[in-house]
């Protein structure tokens, strides 16, 4: 039978303890064991970035990390950014600037940018483009995403 381990981690501010198969990657764990289907899988080889989440403050591809490696970690997923009726400023900026179409790459884009803006409050458009160069979007041509990220950065600075 498959090998399992018990892990304890914080997901979106809530402590979770689960028995997981050692071979299950973190994205499958979040989606299947915790029902957090906002994290998407686009390539499962670490290029497309759709599965990006924040682990201990850094943007991480959850398809390239085993769930057991997240034992003790603090994890944030798109579900933590804002709710349908109370979107975060970054999420709102995505809508205002048409930074999403099909929405499939969107959670990964949001988490990459969220992690980036926390460390880089005054980015240029080129900085944003570099920051999301590990997130593929087939729909938008990226420009709306860049504009949304810049607008969100402006708003954050205004608040700070």
């Amino acid at each position: 039978m498959s090998d399992t381990r018990r892990i304890t981690l914080s997901v979106n501010g809530r402590s979770r303890t689960e028995e997981v198969e050692t071979r299950i990657h973190l994205a499958d764990f979040l989606r299947q064991s915790l029902g957090l289907t906002g994290t998407h899988l686009g390539c499962e080889h670490g290029v497309c970035g759709a599965c990006t989440i924040i682990v201990d403050g850094r943007a991480v591809r959850s398809c390239l990390m085993l769930a057991v490696q997240a034992d003790g970690a603090e994890i944030e997923t798109v579900e933590n950014l804002g709710r349908v009726e109370a979107l975060s400023p970054l999420q709102k900026a995505f809508s205002t600037h048409h930074g999403l179409q099909c929405g499939f790459c969107t959670p990964g884009m949001l988490m990459s940018i969220e992690a980036f803006l926390r460390e880089n409050p005054e980015p240029t458009a080129a900085d944003i483009r570099e920051a999301i160069s590990g997130n593929i979007c087939r729909c938008t041509g990226y420009q709306g995403i860049v504009e949304a990220a810049l607008a969100a950065a402006d708003e954050r600075r205004g608040r700070a």
Partner: protein, 774 residues
């Protein structure tokens, strides 16, 4: 129309849910008792299946069943029905849901493993072994046409599916009298789908009835229903097909796939829900692509640079099957003569089988290929005559005073194609002005001072949109005063909900927040065709307008009885019907809907029919033609061959804009797809048909770090061919983009540059050319 919403940059109704991670894509759906499927696929491009050994796999943990096609014999058998039959295809060249005795490309499904988890299914799939006799394979369409080429299908003589021809005028006579003739050969490669969501299917039999529900990541849920019902010999009423949130389509998800059938068959055989989610490596070998066309063409033109005629032959790689008939090559043919008023055209396209994944339309279908041929020819003529590239186009365009312009070509139903409206020269002039073509020589000099080669490219196009026959819509006001729109038109990110709600909100005088849209569920609307060919704004948009106007008229009629006022004295605002100038004399749309829902013992106001609702099917009986011109600048590093698109300007006319945010998003995404075709995307096979580019390290997609900002300027020439004056916008960005970028690359390479007749163009290719020039 009061136009409160139509034309405004309304934020999309789709967004909040998708942004909050609350989208519902196929893989997000989990049903009780659901099994997970993994396919066992062909590892060779051509082979005869002698035997399958699944004995060990069957003993592995969690395995519920392992099926091959023979296991489904009691339910259904035989090849899948063709989606688009064509007289040239006498015997359909379609897949079996699972291969029976022969596999014709790497990735073709042979068996399906059902297990408690996806991981268990994949483990067991790896343990299934085959006895396959290798047969010779053919991996490119030119080789496939050779006399001694091995057959792609062992039972089928020859690899030529057929030759389609089209044209008009007396080509021989025009060429015989022409001032000048040039001949060129083009090798055009377009990649695959690469929607960020791969395909996925869930089939769920109803425990209490014979009904089967299928969730599928598809552009064509109604086509899946039609063909699956036919295959299962069921009535369509016992089959419900739903496309939930779909993570991009771009053409290939318009097909009906063997996996959709195999998963339905497995679910019926087991009496349990079954889910299959395509992974990215499967997407590379089992989702249709576009790949190669080779064009050998002659162009006749005057000394003054007017294009007079084009003649030639194309060899089209159709892959191992023709699930979608000849739609892709036929679209290449139908895209002539582009924006140009030619005296004659004579084109033939050889549609050829290869032992590779089938080809079907990818964003733009083959329109970008035809645009590449025509635009490159325009540049070629300009270079030959030493005249500006824009001048050849100006002298060759269909002029605004000739609209509507009958091109000489025929539509799929045999009717003559005519361009409805537009000013092609104006679009080109505007593109040149906006990119500041006059200032280009100075910018080129500045780039040269930095050691870089700067080039300016231009390309023009037309796009046929609004393909017949219809997408219908029902607009209904509920007793709660809310408005629901139901349509068959499936969405894969285009923002249909928002634009359809904008149209209905204006027609009914309601707040857009009170409108909800249901689509792509055969249980919610009776008929649908497909989200393809930039057709939904024209077809579904017009149907919503017509249905909403009917509802409005019915509401006014009912209100005139309820308020005892003449219809002419009524107005609708914010969901309330008022008697103009009489405060307090009013009734809400919700109250009218309640009255028209009926109460026991009471007749309806004015003896109207029940239900404050109407359905319309706008008949899209003639194509509407969007058009545009693009201009871009490309900077090349001569040391490395690195190519950067540094500026990109689009001038685009898709008639009236329903929502500029959505239209510009379509254009930008389309342009970037075209830049990917020009510079990055290449699906590579070896000579035995083994795919060599099956991950995103080997197959490159455009990334944010390499893409420019794309500047868009609209011209709005309302189409006279539908009630809302719109033309489609889904592919106009892609169609000229590769031609525009290649035009700029050739310009950057300067005097002595080779004529570039291919794409994608890699940095290696650039350095080869530069080395050859020095």
């Amino acid at each position: 129309m009061s136009a409160r919403y139509f034309g405004a940059a309304v934020p999309r109704l789709e967004d909040p849910r998708l942004l909050a991670g609350r989208g519902r894509y196929v893989d997000d759906i989990a049903l009780p008792g659901m099994l997970h499927a993994a396919f066992v696929r062909a590892q060779v491009a051509h082979g005869r299946i002698r035997g399958i050994d699944a004995a060990e796999a069957r003993t592995m943990p969690g395995i519920a069943a392992i099926y091959t096609m023979t296991d489904f014999a009691a339910i259904a058998q035989g090849p899948m029905p063709p989606m688009a039959p064509h007289p040239l295809i006498k015997t359909p060249i379609t897949y079996h849901p699972l291969a029976v005795d022969e596999v014709c490309h790497v990735g073709e499904p042979i068996a399906v493993v059902l297990a408690g988890t996806r991981q268990q299914a994949e483990d067991a799939a790896n343990a299934v072994s085959f006895d396959i006799e290798h047969l010779p394979a053919v991996a490119n369409p030119i080789a496939a046409l050779a006399k001694d080429a091995p057959p792609v299908h062992s039972g089928r003589a020859g690899n030529l599916i057929g030759t389609i021809r089209g044209g008009f005028g007396d080509s021989d006579a025009v060429f015989a009298r022409a001032d000048q003739i040039l001949s060129e050969t083009f090798s055009i490669h377009r990649g695959g789908c690469h929607s960020m969501e791969c395909r996925g299917v869930i089939a769920a039999p109803d425990a209490l009835s014979d009904d089967l529900t299928v969730y599928t990541s598809s552009q064509s849920p109604y086509m899946v229903r039609r063909h699956l019902a036919q295959y299962l010999k069921r009535d369509e009423s016992s089959l419900r097909v739903i496309a939930p949130d779909v993570g991009g389509g771009f053409g290939p998800k318009a097909n009906v796939y063997p996996e959709e059938f195999a998963i339905a068959l497995a679910a019926l055989a087991l009496g349990r829900p079954v889910k299959w989610i395509e992974d990215r490596s499967e997407h590379f070998v089992a989702t249709t692509q576009q790949r190669d066309q080779v064009w050998m063409v002659d162009v006749a033109f005057t000394h003054q640079g007017r294009m007079q005629a084009v003649r030639g032959r194309c060899i089209h790689d159709n892959g191992a099957y023709a699930p979608y008939g000849l739609i892709l090559p036929a679209t290449a043919l139908a895209s002539f003569p582009g924006p140009y008023a030619l005296d004659a055209l004579d084109i033939s396209i050889d549609v050829v089988l290869t032992n590779l994944v089938p080809t079907t339309p990818v964003r733009g279908a083959a329109r970008p290929c035809t645009a590449f041929v025509l635009e490159r020819l325009a540049d070629r003529i300009a270079r030959y005559l030493k005249m500006p590239r824009e001048e050849v186009r100006r002298r060759s365009f269909v002029t605004a005073d000739r609209m509507p312009y009958t091109t000489g070509m025929k539509a799929r139903d045999g009717s003559p194609i005519s361009y409805d409206s537009g000013d092609y020269e104006k679009a080109l002039d505007l593109a040149l002005e906006k990119i500041d073509a006059l200032g280009f020589p100075a910018r080129r000099k500045q780039a040269a001072a930095r050691g870089k080669l700067l080039g300016l490219g231009i390309a023009s196009c037309v796009e046929d949109t609004g393909l017949a026959p219809f997408e219908g819509a029902t607009v209904r006001v509920t007793p709660a005063g809310k408005v629901t729109i139901a349509t068959g038109a499936a969405s894969q990110g285009q923002g249909h909900r928002t634009v359809l709600a904008q149209i209905a909100a204006d027609a009914l005088g309601v707040d857009i927040a009170d409108i909800s849209v249901e689509s792509a569920d055969t249980g919610k609307f009776p008929l649908g065709i497909s989200t393809i060919a930039s057709r939904i704004a024209v077809t579904a948009g017009s149907s919503v307008e017509l249905a909403a106007q009917k509802v409005r008229n019915k509401a006014l009629k009912a209100a005139s009885f309820m308020l005892e006022a003449a219809e002419n004295d009524l107005e609708i605002e914010a969901g309330i019907v008022r008697v103009i100038g009489v405060p307090g004399m009013q009734v809400s749309l919700g109250e009218i809907a309640r009255a028209l829902s009926g109460s026991a013992g009471l007749l309806l106001p004015g003896h109207l029919e029940p239900d404050l609702a109407a359905t319309a099917y706008f008949e899209s009986n003639a194509l509407t033609f969007a058009y545009g011109s693009n201009a871009c600048e490309v900077e090349i590093d001569p040391a490395t061959g690195d190519i950067r698109v540094t500026r990109y300007v689009v001038v685009h006319d898709c008639g009236r804009l329903i929502n500029p945010l959505v239209v510009e998003g379509q254009i930008r995404g389309g342009v970037v797809h075209g830049i990917g075709n020009a510079l990055y995307e290449r699906m590579v096979y070896d000579e035995t048909g083994q795919p060599l580019s099956t991950n995103y390290g080997e197959y490159l997609l455009p990334l944010a770090s390499e893409m420019p900002d794309i500047e868009i300027h609209h011209i709005e020439t309302p189409s006279p061919r539908n009630p809302i004056g719109v033309k489609g916008a889904g592919e106009g960005g892609t169609i000229p983009a590769a031609a525009c970028v290649i035009s700029a690359i050739e310009d950057a390479l300067g005097q002595g540059a080779p004529f570039i007749a291919e794409h994608p163009v890699s940095p290696e290719r650039i350095t080869e050319w530069l080395d050859g020039m020095s």
